[in-house]
C-alpha cells in the first residue's frame, strides 16, 4: 500500500490515455479532442469561447494502476494560461514519474 491506501503493483506503464475538461455545469468545454503527446508529455486542449477557466473540472484517464499528483478534488482554477499547470503521473509500481504540462487555448 502507498500513502494513499492504494495498492502498489508491478506495473511500470506511466501515461495519460485520455483527458476531459468539464465546466461548472458538468458539460464539456473542449472545442476538440485533447491532443496528448506521451513523448513530449503535454496535453493540448482548446476550449470553447466563453469558458470560465476558474471553475472547471479536469478529468484524466491514466494507464492501469497509475495515480495523479496533485490530486483533483473538485473545481480547479486553470485560468493562468501563461503558467500551465503540471500534473505528474505516477506508475503502478510508484517507480516512474512523468510530469505532463496542460496547455489550454481558447477557441
Amino acid at each position: 500500500m502507498d500513502e494513499d491506501g492504494l495498492l502498489i503493483t508491478f506495473r511500470s506503464e506511466c501515461f495519460v490515455s485520455n483527458f476531459e475538461l468539464l465546466g461548472s455545469d458538468f458539460v464539456t468545454v473542449r472545442a476538440a479532442p485533447a491532443i496528448i503527446d506521451t513523448v513530449a508529455q503535454t496535453i493540448d486542449v482548446q476550449v470553447l469561447f466563453g469558458t470560465d477557466l476558474k471553475n472547471v473540472y479536469p478529468q484524466f484517464t491514466l494507464a492501469t494502476d497509475c495515480k495523479l499528483e496533485p490530486k483533483i478534488t473538485g473545481k480547479t482554477d486553470l485560468s493562468d494560461l501563461a503558467n500551465p499547470k503540471i500534473y505528474t503521473v505516477v506508475s503502478g509500481n510508484r517507480q516512474v514519474r512523468k510530469p505532463y504540462r496542460l496547455n489550454i487555448k481558447f477557441q
Binding site: G23, S24, D25, F49, G50, D52, K54, N55
Partner: protein, 328 residues
C-alpha cells in the same frame, strides 16, 4: 437401534419447531366506520412558494344510519391569497386513472377574513373527498402555516384533522418571461421583470443581466451577460454609462425545476440550494446557453440569489425564461 431412536426424536423436534414457527395468524375483518370519520393528505410535493397552490385531499364519511354530511371547512393559520378554495365537487378515480368530479355542494365561501373556507353540502351524501387549494400569500413567506380540516354531520357531530405546520419558502417565482435580442433584453432580478432599452435606461441600477444572441462565434448563441462584463461578451452592445452591475453567474445543466418547467420533471429548487451555493469566483457572463439549462445568479449588491431557467430558445434570437428568486 439407539441411533434410530435419536434420529426419530430429532425429526420430531424439528417438526414441532416448524409447526410452531409457521403458525398462521387469523385474518380479522377490519372494523367498519362507526362514527363521523375524516382523513387528509397533502397532494403537493416540493417547496411551498408564494402565489402557487398547496393542494390537499380531505376525505370524510359517516355511517348511513347516523345521518349525512352537512358541511366541511378548512381553517388556515394564515389566510390564503386570492384563488384559495375548497372544492364543492367530490372526486373519484375511474378505471382509466382519471379523476371524475361529482358535485356535492355549493362553491366554497371564505369566512373570518379568508382564514376559513367552507362548503355546505347540497346533496344527501354520507361520504365525500374534497380537494383544497391553498394559494400561498406573499405575507406567509418564511413563516409556517398549518390547517385544520373539519366536517359537520346531521347528527350534530364534528370531526377534525390537523395538517402541518408547513414551512413557506422565501422564494419568489416568475414564469415564462419572453426575452428578445436587442429589444426586450434587459433583466432585473430585483423586479423579476424584463425591460426594453428605453425602460432599462431609466432604472440602470436595477439591471442585472442582458440577454444576447450571436450566431458567431458558434458557441456564443444564447447568453446572459452582466452589464459590467468584459466587452468581448457584449459584442455590438452600447450600454448607458450608469448601467454597470456585475452579476455573478454559474451555468447549470439538467436542473429542470418542476415549477419553472411548467410542471414537467420531478426536480425542485428549494431555499436550501440558494443558502448553500458558493458563488465566489464565479464569472459575470454565461454564453452558449441551451434550452432547459439554467444559471444560478447572485446580484452585485448580494441582496438576491436567483435561478434563471431557459424554458425554450429560438434560433432567431429569442428565448423564454423563468426564474426563482431568493432574498438573502
Amino acid at each position: 437401534m439407539s441411533f434410530r431412536i435419536i434420529t426419530i426424536t430429532f425429526r420430531f423436534a424439528i417438526l414441532l419447531i416448524s409447526l410452531s414457527a409457521c403458525q398462521e395468524e387469523e385474518y380479522v375483518l377490519p372494523e367498519p366506520v362507526s362514527q363521523l370519520t375524516n382523513d387528509c393528505l397533502k397532494r403537493t410535493i416540493g417547496p411551498n412558494i408564494a402565489s402557487l397552490p398547496i393542494e390537499f385531499a380531505y376525505a370524510m364519511a359517516i355511517p348511513k344510519s347516523l345521518g349525512k354530511l352537512v358541511s366541511a371547512q378548512v381553517e388556515a393559520s394564515i389566510p390564503g391569497a386570492t384563488g384559495t378554495f375548497l372544492e364543492h365537487r367530490s372526486f373519484y378515480t375511474n378505471s382509466g386513472g382519471v379523476d371524475i368530479p361529482v358535485t356535492v355542494g355549493s362553491p366554497s365561501t371564505a369566512l373570518d377574513d379568508g382564514k376559513v373556507t367552507r362548503v355546505t353540502f347540497s346533496v344527501d351524501t354520507n361520504a365525500a373527498t374534497l380537494r383544497y387549494y391553498y394559494i400561498v400569500p406573499e405575507t406567509a413567506k418564511g413563516q409556517q402555516v398549518s390547517f385544520t380540516f373539519s366536517v359537520n354531520s346531521s347528527d350534530g357531530k364534528t370531526a377534525s384533522f390537523k395538517m402541518g405546520p408547513y414551512n413557506i419558502s422565501k422564494m419568489s417565482i416568475k414564469k415564462n418571461l419572453a426575452v428578445t435580442n436587442g429589444t426586450n433584453a434587459f433583466i432585473s432580478i430585483e423586479d423579476m421583470a424584463v425591460y426594453n432599452a428605453t425602460a432599462a435606461a431609466a432604472i440602470p441600477d436595477k439591471i442585472d443581466l442582458i440577454y444576447l444572441f450571436r450566431s458567431a462565434p458558434v458557441t456564443f448563441t444564447h447568453a446572459l451577460v452582466s452589464p459590467n462584463a468584459d466587452a468581448v461578451y457584449l459584442p455590438g452592445v452600447t450600454l448607458p454609462s450608469d448601467m454597470k452591475r456585475s452579476t455573478k453567474l454559474q451555468k447549470v445543466f439538467g436542473l429542470q425545476d418542476r415549477n419553472l418547467a411548467n410542471l414537467q420533471y420531478g426536480i425542485y429548487v428549494d431555499d436550501i440550494d440558494f443558502k448553500n451555493i458558493d458563488m465566489t469566483n464565479m464569472p459575470n457572463f454565461a454564453v452558449g446557453l441551451k434550452a432547459e439549462a439554467g444559471v444560478w445568479v447572485e446580484t452585485s449588491d448580494k441582496k438576491y440569489r436567483a435561478y434563471v431557467y431557459l424554458n425554450s430558445i429560438n434560433a432567431s434570437g429569442s428565448a423564454v425564461i423563468s426564474m426563482l428568486r431568493y432574498a438573502l
